[in-house]
């Protein structure tokens, strides 16, 4: 009997030992999380070159330079003196050059004592120089395939060096977090596109149609959304930028706009500004026989929110009617400017015409989708814009 009790006891202890759980857990303090990833043209940085000179490297082609923003950095006392790119701001930017993103991530382990993990990657910035040469599908392959990186991370373009957008600015914030939060301004202005996360990007790339991504400009750590870059569907490469007004015009056409202002000059050449309250826009594809044309109908309600002409009274309906006409004309000019750019300069469609066609005329779409950009640039597009100014704010003069 005693013998059995010993045996049971041993068994219990043995089982308990296997029940400790979390076999492969790693303390978060021992890991470096990267929150931002910037992809640049493949030119090794100065530090990298110095390091390479002292040792043997590994076989690679310098196709791109990846910069990761790592947080949190241990806040030691000597961190202040270390005048790195991070400047002791609670984050650290590190660059590596090569031709495989995952290999680069593993290479960081050669330089830091703590391995980098991608669970908290918030933003990816790609420089337009790089994407002019490399297909975006290739560049994004790893981040879409990886099991750590969540597809909720957003993607931006940068016309300058992408890693510059991750530099410390005047604000205390971690640049990657700031960039991640910036698309939320979408509700304020049509110049900010709805944030494109990896899932959405995946679907855009997979559709083989041209699309645009928000561009961010940087100067001394300050960043600004400066329009958008167009990526051609069939090559996956960058073809050129759209300015802020063009991005706003695209938003007006697609109707994906929550807040916007239109500034114009009245008959005395004084500025006045229309604030959008409600927008209804519709792209109407017309197929007659084999001839395709688009009509865009835009109806908007809003208010006069700023008027510099002290001699005029915006509460008069006469004034409002004249103002409506002027704003309509301004928007029309914006739209036509955009269309000119898309159809003549870049010969691409990034403003949802193809999508609407595919919804309304799937059969016709099937015929033209493989050469849609070409077809679109030959397709006549007409606009009609209707503005209604419903009120003039809290000032009546």
């Amino acid at each position: 009997m005693r013998k059995y009790r010993m045996l049971t006891l041993l068994l219990v202890v043995g089982i308990m030992a296997t029940q400790t759980g979390c076999w492969s857990s790693k303390e978060i303090e021992d890991m470096s999380m990267y929150v931002g990833l910037a992809l640049d043209d493949g030119k090794p940085t100065a530090t990298e070159e110095k390091l390479d000179k002292q040792g043997e490297g590994y076989p690679k082609r310098n196709l791109f330079t990846a910069t990761v923003q790592i947080v949190p950095v241990k806040t030691g006392s000597n961190n202040k003196q270390e005048k790195g790119q991070g400047k002791g701001d609670g984050f650290l930017n590190e660059s590596e050059t090569g031709d495989s993103l995952i290999q680069l991530m593993r290479q960081y382990s050669l330089r830091r004592e703590r391995a980098v993990i991608g669970h908290h990657l918030k933003v990816i910035i790609i420089s337009t120089d790089l994407i002019r040469e490399q297909n975006i599908d290739k560049l994004m392959d790893f981040v879409l395939r990886d099991n750590d990186i969540r597809p909720s991370c957003i993607v931006l373009l940068s016309r300058g060096l992408a890693r510059d957008t991750l530099k410390a600015g005047n604000s205390e914030e971690i640049p990657a977090f700031k960039l991640q939060a910036m698309p939320r301004g979408h509700f304020r202005t049509g110049e900010i596109m709805r944030g494109v996360n990896l899932t959405r990007l995946n679907s855009l790339i997979g559709s083989k149609q041209s699309f645009m991504l928000q561009e961010v400009a940087s100067s001394d750590g300050e960043t600004e959304f400066s329009g958008a870059g167009i990526i051609k569907g069939d090559t996956g490469r960058y073809v050129g930028p759209l300015d802020q007004m063009d991005v706003q015009s695209v938003s007006w056409i697609t109707g994906d706009i929550e807040g916007a202002v239109i500034k114009s000059y009245n008959w005395h050449d004084e500025p006045m500004t229309y604030e959008l309250k409600r927008l209804k826009s519709k792209i109407i594809p017309r197929v007659e026989g084999d001839r395709l044309s688009f009509h865009v109908h835009i109806e908007s309600e809003g208010r006069i929110m700023e008027n510099w002409d002290v001699d005029e009274d915006p509460s008069q309906s006469e004034f409002l009617n004249r103002a409506e006409k002027i704003f309509e004309k301004t928007l029309l000019q914006m739209l036509e400017h955009l269309l000119e750019k898309l159809q003549t300069k870049y010969k691409v469609d990034v403003s949802g015409f193809g999508k609407q066609l595919s919804l309304d005329h799937p059969q016709y779409w099937k015929k033209v989708k493989d050469r849609w950009d070409e077809v679109f640039s030959q397709t006549p597009v007409t606009f009609d814009v209707k503005f209604t100014i419903t009120d003039y704010g809290s000032s009546k003069k």
């Binding site: 492969s24 997979g206 595919s358 059969q363």
Partner: protein, 367 residues
């Protein structure tokens, strides 16, 4: 609470048992499987049609089983076609259930290791699940039913909550154009969508264990109807949230949908983790009921004691689960299971029903 020892389950328990036997790993890959065939946003229609066909089959199986109250397929197959052919039929069913069990536990382990427990050896995930399932199954169908009753509301709630939260990504345009290319792609998708409801063959065992077999038709149709509705919803929400192209480019589309947003402020910022953890219980349920039926079938066919079969099956299941080497093997196995389900229907359900009908009529004539 009182303990039952008569191996009977109530009507609501039967509903839950059937639902849990169908609902499992399928939901993780199903939207892609169907969309690959359909190639238009109408995949959900294929799922719906496939579901209706599955419900008809369930109805037929229930009707057949009702003719033999208190008996499972493993017993009444012999009554209909004789001892040896009956045993062959039973063995076919047993092999089928065993493959599903192995498949289910392997998918569970694969997802677990890929997303949650990287670097944990796969055996360390599979073995505890097999042990727990064996312990549960050794208590008989009643224990299983009661555990399922606890897990069912939790996992359904989490599933619906996940769907609800994913609505922020949902775009109706992703599901349009509706029938843009007509019905042919939808029918093409039927090839895949008929396969996703596998596991419902368990009906032919459940009805025999029901306390009120006269309510079986309603219970079984409800039990199979819940997964049909959930699968249709899942397809709509995943395709609507990701778009057809993104679904086609994703290995685990349902998880990718949940990974595409973060909710700051909610208790869970990243919803794929609670979903996976809870859904693992659902996959466990699925595994457990297939495991139970496999053992039951073997024990009834060969007259071996049930616990003995149960424990002897543990290592076999473990090895079976590890046979597929790559992910592609595993997905191919999933397909094969679907085809087996159709073959079983053609080789077991239909002949048994026909022979039964003929013999019944024959008996009447002679009487």
């Amino acid at each position: 609470m009182f303990t039952r020892s008569d191996d009977k389950i109530t009507t609501s328990q039967a509903v839950v048992l059937l639902t849990d036997s169908i609902l499992g790993a399928g939901i993780l890959t199903m939207p892609r499987d169907i969309t690959e065939k359909v190639k238009t946003p109408d995949a959900w229609l294929s799922v719906l049609l496939g579901g209706i066909v599955a419900l008809l089959v369930v109805w037929l199986m229930t009707k057949l089983s009702q003719q033999f109250p208190g008996k499972t397929i493993f017993e009444y197959a012999r009554n209909i076609v004789g001892k040896i052919p009956g045993s062959v039929v039973s063995m076919l069913m047993v092999i089928y259930f065993m493959i599903i069990a192995g498949f289910e536990i392997r998918i569970l382990a694969e997802v677990n290791v890929f997303y949650l427990l990287e670097k944990t050896p796969i055996w360390a995930v599979i073995i505890p699940f097999i042990w727990t399932a064996a312990y549960l199954a050794s208590g008989g169908i009643n224990c299983i039913a009661r555990l399922f009753q606890i897990i069912f509301p939790v996992s359904i709630l989490i599933l619906l909550l996940s769907f609800l939260l994913s609505m922020r990504l949902f775009e109706l345009d992703n599901l349009r154009p509706f029938l843009g290319e007509g019905l042919p792609p939808v029918l093409e998708g039927l090839k895949s969508s008929l396969l996703i409801f596998t596991g419902f063959e368990i009906v032919m065992v459940l009805v025999g264990h029901m306390q009120h077999p006269q309510k079986a038709v309603k219970a079984m149709l409800l039990g199979a109807g819940i997964p049909v509705i959930l699968y249709v919803f899942a397809t709509m929400i995943v395709v609507g949230g990701l778009s057809v192209t993104a679904v086609l480019r994703s290995t685990w589309p349902t998880l990718d949908l949940l990974r595409s947003f973060e909710i700051t402020g909610l208790f869970f910022e990243r919803f794929e983790f609670p979903f996976l953890v809870i859904w693992m219980m659902q996959m466990f349920c699925n595994f457990c009921s297939q495991f139970f039926v496999t053992s039951l079938g073997l024990s009834k066919t060969f007259g071996i004691k049930f616990p003995l079969v149960l424990f002897a099956l543990m290592p076999i299941l473990f090895i079976a689960a590890l046979i597929p080497k790559t992910m592609n093997d595993l997905f191919a196995l999933g397909q094969t299971i679907g085809y087996m389900s159709i073959i079983l229907f053609a080789l077991v359900t239909v002949p048994l029903s026909l022979i039964y009908l003929i013999r019944k009529k024959g008996l009447r004539k002679h009487a």
